[in-house]
């Protein structure tokens, strides 16, 4: 039976830090996690005595495959000097660190621990593109792989079903990409930091200086329609519809609400938590929404007593452009079939009524899969604590933000709502 959820006691987020997301040939995920931890430590307003940390929950998808190293919870705990405190690794594909966050919340809510460290890491770039694709495909269903479906292929198929049902097209996907690239230059942690038009200008300049044929794109969509600039990966998904291969780490400090003021005067309260599971592509009850996202949203809204209208901005899991459109519908920000129109009308831009992926999203910020869930929550932290600088959501009373994380092809989805009181 469905039951409205509540925590045994309140939990607050009081620290957050993350590494730059990029492809690093001289750093592994241990180095990146130490970097994220140091930044997290510095973010705790009244300071953190590391001796007070009771436990670590670490999200990591597949260090086992990417760098042939398993058991990353305990090993990273040693790198931070947390030994002999307990460390637990969580795995939910690209939603691994959102699961770590949840486990940390539950551990505190149960009364067992008071101060818990949450982490997420992934080190992907040491492998070839083909090998990374193979590693990610470990999270798809075996039937999909045998049918020749890649990860982009699954989302591409979903896009054609959505196009057919709602009369949308590739042009609508381009609006998502252009918007993400507009936000990214404002985020110093982002892997890509050029707006599409700046990228076009750079390419024109390079062609001129090299005496090559100068491209004559008339606007951003013209650039994205050019298959030399934006080749197909799995039609209708093209290069600019897909998130990149990234390395990175993120770190969060959670504490019991009743002791939060020892750490800061402006904690963020965990007011909504939701998680759902989904089916393989062929047995999904509908190809145009994610059942797991809808369930996660329902749980989180019910727990918080909030509705989609109360959420002032959100990070959503845009592993592929079409996914962002589905999620903003599944989370209730827009009605089914209206998501693509909302993006086209600019409603999800930074200065729009419902800013989505102010960080630049997975597309531009980067997607070190195990780090993504925690990193999305860090974007909410920076926005609600007025640390987002030039990409701050321009609303007067910013209090409630949320993050949606997806694993695999929709097998695991989470939705987390944070509030500054």
């Amino acid at each position: 039976m469905y039951k409205k959820r509540k925590l045994g006691r309140g939990v607050a987020m009081v620290g957050a830090g993350m590494s730059k997301f990029d492809m690093f040939n001289d750093k592994d995920s241990k180095d990146l996690f130490v970097e994220a931890y140091i930044q997290m430590n510095a973010s705790v307003d009244k300071g953190l005595d590391p001796e007070d940390i009771d436990a670590l929950y670490l999200g990591n998808f597949t260090n086992d495959f990417f760098v042939q190293q398993s058991h990353w919870g305990a090993i990273l705990s040693d790198s931070l000097g947390l030994v002999p405190k307990p460390a637990t690794r969580t795995e939910g594909a690209c939603a691994s660190s959102a699961l770590a966050f949840r486990e940390g919340v539950f551990a505190i809510a149960s009364g067992f621990y008071d101060v818990v460290l949450i982490g997420g890491v992934e080190d992907m770039s040491k492998r070839s593109t083909e090998e990374v694709a193979e590693g990610l495909a470990l999270a798809a269903s075996p039937y999909e792989r045998k049918a020749g479906l890649t990860f982009p292929g699954v989302f591409a198929a979903i896009a054609t079903a959505y196009f057919e049902k709602y009369g949308a097209s590739r042009e609508h996907l381009m609006n998502v990409t252009i918007k993400s690239h507009d936000n990214a230059p404002l985020n110093p942690k982002a892997q890509f930091n050029l707006a599409i038009r700046d990228m076009m200008a750079a390419k024109v300049k390079r062609a001129k200086s090299q005496g090559k044929a100068v491209p004559d794109w008339i606007d951003e969509k013209d650039f994205l329609r050019d298959e030399r600039a934006n080749p197909p990966i799995a039609w209708p998904m093209h290069l600019f519809d897909c998130c990149p291969i990234s390395d990175g780490a993120a770190c969060i400090l959670l504490v019991a609400e009743e002791i939060a003021n020892r750490f800061t005067d402006t904690p963020l309260h965990v007011v909504g938590l939701g998680q759902g599971s989904g089916r393989a592509l062929h047995s999904a009850d509908d190809l145009t929404y994610f059942e797991a996202t809808r369930h996660a949203a329902k749980e989180a809204y019910d727990m918080s007593g909030l509705t989609p209208k109360d959420i002032q901005f959100a990070e959503v899991h845009d592993c592929f452009s079409i996914a962002e459109i589905l999620h903003i519908e599944d989370l209730g920000f827009f009605a089914p079939g209206e998501g693509h129109k909302a993006v086209e009308e600019g409603l999800t831009r930074l200065d729009g009524p419902m800013p989505i992926n102010t960080s630049g999203g997975l597309k531009c910020k980067g997607h070190p899969v195990g780090a993504t869930g925690a990193a999305q929550l860090i974007e909410v932290w920076e926005q609600l604590r007025d640390k987002a600088g030039r990409r701050r959501v321009p609303k007067s009373d910013l209090r409630i933000g949320a993050a949606h994380n997806l694993g695999g092809t929709g097998g695991t989805c989470t939705f987390t709502i944070l509030e500054r009181r």
Binding site: A133, A147, P152, A161, P232, W235, M237, H282, S283, L287
Partner: protein, 140 residues
């Protein structure tokens, strides 16, 4: 027929014989392709094999330029993309499969909803993937 176990091994054996089979729940009569040994609707395991007509319509698809390792090995690439998709069978169940006989170089001309019939790739060969499920357009 009754001897094939109701699981992926049994399903594969039927594919090798050129049959697209699913499991039918004795409780609610829902057909599952590939088979399930437990009906997620009734949560009971009284299932039996049922053969499909092998026909359906294209529910979703993609033309893949950067394929899976197995498809790259078969020679598919950016200049020779292949199609995969979701087919809704006339019996109602959906399957994922390779889609052949549609223009992978011009996927924008392919119509979702078009009628398709099953075909079996690599049937009877010693390809280690076994028989691969595929569909192609029904010629009017």
């Amino acid at each position: 027929m009754a001897e094939n176990p109701i699981n992926d091994y049994g399903f594969e054996q039927f594919l090798n014989e050129g049959k697209l089979m699913g499991s039918k729940c004795n409780g609610c009569e829902t057909l599952y392709v590939p088979p399930r040994s437990l009906c997620p609707g009734c949560r009971q395991s009284e299932m039996e094999w049922a053969e499909t007509a092998g026909e359906g319509r294209l529910a979703a698809f993609t033309s893949i330029s950067i394929g899976t390792p197995a498809m790259i090995k078969e020679g598919y690439d950016r200049n020779n993309p292949y199609c995969s998709g979701v087919v809704e069978l006339v019996e109602g169940a959906r399957v994922v499969a390779r889609i052949e006989g549609i223009d992978s170089m011009h996927p924008e001309t392919v119509e979702v909803g078009m009628p398709l019939r099953v075909k079996f790739l690599n049937q009877g060969t010693d390809d280690d993937r076994g028989t691969v499920l595929a569909f192609s357009p029904i010629e009017e």
